[in-house]
């Protein structure tokens, strides 16, 4: 930031006199943030207060940690917590590296035409509504869907993928890879175009083969992008595809499919236990914030890259 001389002197009075038109532009957006973003944060106090639907949005009276102890002793909550962690880890393991590999492979393509075509096609799922994605998942994994058609031809059996708890995770993760691999590669591809050609030249002169070039030149060059995206991914760890799960899960596979966000959705909005669900939601947000803060701090120390 360049300190413009006219920035220094004067307080708010002068600033407002000079820039009041800019401040008027900010008013509406600030009101938006206050009402739709910050008020709900404050609204989390109902986790510690008794709440009556239709009553005060900040609840009626303090009840202390009643709802917190309630969910800590709730086996269904811990089931959902476990499922969230497992799905989160599987997502990081499978969905995070795929776009990197995909971008590296695309980068090796010599035909720009093919590259363009492949990009255009693989970005497509990103632009589809999650409702449409859910419809496609349920149809492809249905008893008469493609997956079962192949299974029947190869093994002579069919599986009720959408209903069996054991199959939820493979179904969720494979569809997630399908959805995110193409678009996820976009930032890596952008970073790859900025790699200095002379580095490859130098590596070749040193006798590095193609694989060694990838390992010693390409990967280090996109490392900051990888780390940034990893931090962001860790930040959304707890929020695992809530909308998608809500659309494709059902009571028969809750044992593996029910995550914290879907559980609190049912507790809060289907059974109207607002305070209880708010307590769970707050727990989820706090973990999310903690995760991203620690990931950021760790990466700043170890890799020198951080979001802020």
């Amino acid at each position: 930031m360049t300190g413009k001389p006219r920035n220094k002197p004067g307080g708010w009075k002068l600033a407002i006199k000079r820039d009041w038109r800019l401040y008027t532009l900010i008013l509406l957006p600030l009101a938006y943030f206050a009402v739709f973003r910050y008020l709900p944060m404050v609204g989390n106090v109902i986790a510690f207060r008794q709440f009556q639907p239709g009553g005060n949005i900040f609840g009626e009276k303090w009840v202390g940690l009643k709802y917190v102890t309630l969910f800590i002793n709730d086996p269904s909550f811990w089931q959902a917590f476990q499922n969230t962690v497992i799905l989160g880890v599987l997502t990081l393991l499978f969905c995070f590296p795929m776009p990197i590999i995909f971008a590296l492979l695309l980068n090796e393509l010599r035909s720009q035409k093919f590259k363009k075509l492949i990009q255009t096609v693989t970005y497509l799922p990103h632009f589809m509504s999650v409702v449409i994605i859910a419809g496609m998942i349920l149809q492809n994994f249905s008893m008469t869907g493609t997956v079962n058609q192949i299974g029947h031809t190869l093994f002579g059996t069919t599986v009720n993928f959408t209903q069996e708890a054991a199959w939820f995770r493979p179904m969720y993760i494979s569809s997630e890879v399908w959805q995110t691999m193409g678009w996820g590669a976009i930032l890596y591809l952008a970073a790859l175009t900025r790699v200095d050609e002379s580095l490859y030249e130098a590596a070749r002169i040193d006798g590095a083969n193609r694989w060694q070039q990838t390992w010693h030149v390409t990967l280090p060059a996109i490392r900051p992008t990888i780390i940034t995206l990893l931090i962001l991914n860790i930040g959304t760890f707890m929020a695992v595809g809530f909308e998608k799960i809500l659309l494709i899960y059902n009571p028969l596979n809750y044992a593996t499919s029910d995550v914290i966000s879907t559980y609190l959705y049912r507790v809060g909005l289907e059974s109207s236990n607002f305070s209880y669900a708010a307590a769970i939601g707050m727990f989820e947000s706090v973990i999310g914030l903690t995760l991203i803060l620690s990931a950021n701090a760790i990466s700043r120390r170890l890799a020198g890259t951080s979001l802020w």
Binding site: R37, P40, V42, V130, R210, L247, G281
Partner: protein
């Protein structure tokens, strides 16, 4: 001085080098041939291309499958025989859905919500981004902080739900268009675009006697058509695809967007009953009807997709440029 010259020279060199590489793909080919491309490398290239084409096919497959199912008759779908091509060609379901007034009403709602929400989002995002792009605006970092913090921490489902309900927004358009009006991601992209505009332009305009409003409307916005178009597409696609706000806050079927029409179909709330199906073939009729509805919902997205894809890419590139 000397250092700068050297730097300029190397820069020129690398630009030349890159240009040479770009328009001389053949040349590089020759170069690599001279260095003897190993057999392993050649095998890798073929395998790589083949693999990527398989990925393309797998990405497209679910779309083609839905398209095939939408034109197939129930018997074949039920027998698990439909994959890439329609079996027992059937357009009755299309006629049925296209004759359903609820479908059209919901489709109209989607258009309405998309237009209104995008307009609101654009006004809010543009004005905020323009103001916080001014590096000497007092309080700027606080305003940016207020926005960015919401990326990492949010109130959560329940307090939001309670808030919207107590504001009396249930069963109104506002419940759908207001809660997510500003995407901080889009805001930051726009901010960095405005920051990169040459200052001299605005200073000259100010000397000409334009106020800050005048500068924004008469100078900056006309020069920002590309970013404005990008943002409109970002927001429009997000709004077109959204369903959850409507699902939470709208109870009246005549207010639903088409995504809820489809969602209810998938969840079995809207059964094929209204479409005249009998109970025993409800399952596969549903598959057929769902496919038709999916196809009809996806068409507008596919129509704008070529533009969107280009703009999205440049938008993401803009956003990835670190300040």
């Amino acid at each position: 001085m000397k250092g700068a010259a050297v730097k300029a020279a190397t820069m020129k060199e690398s630009v030349l080098d890159r240009a040479g590489r770009r328009n001389g793909a053949k040349e590089t080919g020759v170069l690599i041939k001279d260095m003897k491309v190993s057999r392993g490398m050649r095998v890798f290239r073929v395998a790589n291309l083949a693999f990527l084409l398989v990925v393309v096919f797998l990405t497209l497959y679910p779309f083609l499958n839905i398209l095939a199912q939408s034109f197939s008759s129930e018997g074949f779908i039920n027998a698990g025989q439909v994959n890439l091509f329609p079996m027992g060609f059937n357009i009755e379901t299309y006629k049925l859905i296209l004759a359903d007034s609820t479908f059209w009403r919901n489709y109209g709602n989607t258009v309405l919500y998309t237009v209104v929400a995008t307009a609101i989002s654009m006004v809010l995002t543009t004005s905020f981004a323009y103001a916080i792009a001014k590096k000497d605006l007092k309080g700027r970092s606080v305003f940016i902080g207020i926005a960015v913090f919401t990326m990492f921490f949010n109130g959560g489902l329940i307090p939001n739900y309670v808030l919207i309900s107590s504001l009396g927004l249930r069963d109104t358009l506002w419940a759908v268009v207001l809660p997510n009006a500003i995407s901080v991601f889009n805001l930051l992209i726009m901010k960095s675009f405005f920051e990169n505009m040459p200052r001299e332009l605005e200073e000259a305009a100010a000397i000409d006697g334009l106020t800050q409003y005048g500068v924004l409307f008469k100078v900056v916005l006309p020069l920002s058509k590309a970013i404005v178009a990008t943002m409109v597409l970002f927001y429009a696609v997000a709004n077109w695809n959204s369903w959850f706000q409507a699902f939470l806050y709208l109870d009246k079927p005549e207010l639903f967007p088409v995504t809820i029409y489809l969602r209810n179909m998938i969840a079995g709330v809207t059964t094929a009953g209204s479409a005249g199906g009998t109970t025993e073939n409800m399952g596969q009729i549903a598959a057929n009807i769902q496919s038709v509805t999916i196809v009809l919902t996806v068409i507008p997205i596919l129509c704008v997709y070529p533009f969107v894809q280009k703009y999205f890419f440049s938008g993401v590139m803009l956003g990835s440029v670190k300040e």
